[in-house]
């Protein structure tokens, strides 16, 4: 159910809380504070006001709010939103060994900081959730609490962007795209097969594929309409097959066959354009725009 910003601006406290109260998990006081500050010109402003309420709250209330969040990969995700978000990166289908590692990290984290590990899972891959977990476990309490609130910012911004329509939507989605140019022909490479892999535990898992169109691009971005999960990826381009079809001699076996481009995504809301410029004997790539 979405609600328009214009409607929200006219709602009383009860209706307002009913519409966006669950954006901040089990913390109706955030919506109450935000309702008092209506109207909002943009959805981004609304989110800033809600986060402002969290940041202005007494430390004990902030802690209680953070403590209300479920353990990552724990048995009980408290709300439907939490369940859905954790399932989206496969945290609901971990192996026994992975589960034990998560439980071990959760316990160590809570013992050190007194609140659960907060991370906006939709901005991460399984690998980066784990590596961040270990990295953050080593921090001091003040730094880590600030990071927890920053993660709340990301989580609630995504939820609000999905619920509220209107002016000034926050930018919550990224885009991964590619483009293949055949620099031997001086033309876009048409009909080239591309595969996208995500690395998890040092192994590459295929998460998408496409074939280049008449412009050497893919009809749809390789990832879009969501944050780009922070992690390591590999694009594989069927360069050998392309030149074989064109009848261009390139050695037997061809010097270049499947060309892998291994790269990492660090900015979930960014645009990663990773093109390939290729001939039978050379290629180049770069982060473009």
């Amino acid at each position: 159910m979405t609600v328009s910003l214009a409607d929200l601006n006219h709602m009383d406290a009860a209706a307002f809380a009913a519409a966006v109260g669950d954006v901040f998990e089990l913390a109706p006081w955030v919506a109450t504070a935000a309702q008092a500050r209506r109207p909002y010109a943009t959805v981004t402003d609304l989110h800033a006001a809600m986060m402002g309420a969290v940041r202005a709250a007494p430390r004990e209330q902030q802690l209680a709010f953070v403590r209300n969040h479920p353990d990552l990969a724990g048995k009980a995700a408290v709300t439907e939103d939490s369940k859905r978000e954790q399932a989206s990166v496969g945290l609901d289908s971990l192996s026994q060994a992975e589960l034990e590692r998560f439980h071990r990290l959760n316990d160590a984290y809570k013992a050190k900081f007194g609140f659960p590990y907060m991370i906006c899972v939709r901005r991460h891959t399984r690998d980066s959730i784990l590596s961040e977990f270990e990295r953050r476990l080593a921090r001091d309490e003040a730094t880590e609490f600030a990071q927890a609130l920053q993660e709340v910012f990301y989580i609630t911004r995504l939820r609000l962007a999905a619920k509220v329509t209107g002016e000034g939507l926050p930018q919550v989605n990224g885009r991964l795209s590619t483009h293949v140019l055949d620099t031997h022909a001086g033309r876009p490479a048409v009909g080239m097969a591309i595969e996208l892999f995500e690395y998890a535990a040092a192994r590459a898992h295929r998460i998408g594929g496409a074939v280049t169109n008449g412009d050497g691009r893919t009809d749809a971005p390789l990832i879009a309409g969501r944050p780009l999960p922070i992690g390591r990826y590999e694009l594989r381009f069927a360069v050998g097959e392309h030149f074989r079809r064109r009848g261009v001699e390139a050695g037997d076996p061809p010097f270049l066959d499947i060309v892998p481009i291994r790269f990492a995504i660090a900015e979930p809301e960014g645009h990663y354009h990773v093109p390939l410029l290729c001939s039978p004997w050379s290629y180049s790539t770069y982060r473009g725009s």
Binding site: I230, G251, F255, L256, A264, A266, W281, S282, S284
Partner: protein, 287 residues
């Protein structure tokens, strides 16, 4: 090692003994070549030996091939042993070794002589692929293919045993060079690993670290034919820029950069350089 000038002056018995290991169990080749002395170049000597073999009756050629070792079985002579070790056949796991053995048996049954291949010129995977491909040949095509392989095998042996003018080119070279185009300098101290593909997996062949010139002190492969096959070079680009203190994202956009390529010319020079910044790279077959 024997000098070409010395070979040219030997008597028949000495000449045949000196070249005896080149065409295993076929002293008739060296005997016929004796009459054609002197040889101006080592390559010319080899071409003469091969011309004698090619001119021999088909039955004699087939008899020679029948006397050759089945590759997967124990080598009969020292030269063969060394060449087979170079191909790594003895490191086959039991399943692939069994399949390779079966294909060898099928080959022997089909053509009447063992599978003959210049093992030093092929990766294990390419050796497999060749056996599979050649199993489908007709008798004439396959005999011509086997004789072509004999050309490569004997050329390597002659080059190893005879020194002098006009040595044939039998070795290839794989080299690289890393340029940090962000700094406008060679990338020094960058870690490189070379992998060879076999049965869909990559096995590490060698490692190196770039010197001050962005090159490796020695070629990645040199002093031997480059085995035909698929390879991957991996460059520690992320570490290089991290050491230089250049921001490249967290995690860095490029960490290990893999370049996957094939070698098709064992006697060729493959120069596969990398030009890189934290956000871009290019490669090409250079010289």
């Amino acid at each position: 090692m024997v000098a070409l000038s010395e070979l040219n002056g030997l008597d028949l018995e000495g000449f045949v003994a000196a070249l005896g290991g080149t065409f295993e169990f076929a002293p008739w080749v060296a005997k016929a070549a004796y009459a054609r002395r002197p040889f101006a170049t080592v390559a010319g000597l080899h071409e003469t030996l091969m011309a004698i073999f090619r001119a021999a009756p088909r039955e004699q050629q087939l008899a020679f091939l029948r006397g050759q070792t089945v590759l997967s079985r124990r080598a009969m002579t020292r030269d063969s042993e060394r060449e087979h070790r170079g191909a790594g056949l003895e490191t086959l796991g039991p399943r692939l070794a069994a399949r390779y053995g079966e294909m060898n048996d099928a080959y022997l049954a089909r053509f009447g002589y063992p599978f003959y291949i210049a093992v030093l010129r092929y990766s294990l995977a390419a050796n497999f692929a060749e056996l599979e491909r050649r199993l489908a040949h007709d008798a004439d095509t396959e005999l011509a293919t086997a004789v072509r392989e004999l050309f490569f095998v004997t050329r390597l042996r002659i080059a190893a045993h005879v020194e002098g003018e006009g040595a044939p080119l039998v070795n290839g070279r794989l080299s690289t060079h890393v340029l940090d185009t962000q700094a406008g300098r060679p990338a020094a101290g960058l870690a490189i690993a070379l992998y060879e593909e076999a049965a869909g997996r990559y096995h590490r062949v060698t490692t190196a670290v770039t010197n001050a010139d962005g090159r490796t002190d020695r070629p990645l492969i040199g002093g031997r034919p480059l085995p035909i096959g698929r390879y991957e070079l991996r460059f520690g680009v992320g570490d290089h820029f991290r050491r230089r203190g250049i921001e490249g994202g967290d995690p860095p956009f490029f960490d290990i950069v893999p370049l996957r390529f094939s070698i098709a010319e064992p006697e060729g020079h493959y120069h596969v350089p990398l030009l890189c910044t934290p956000w871009s790279y290019s490669t090409y077959r250079g010289s």
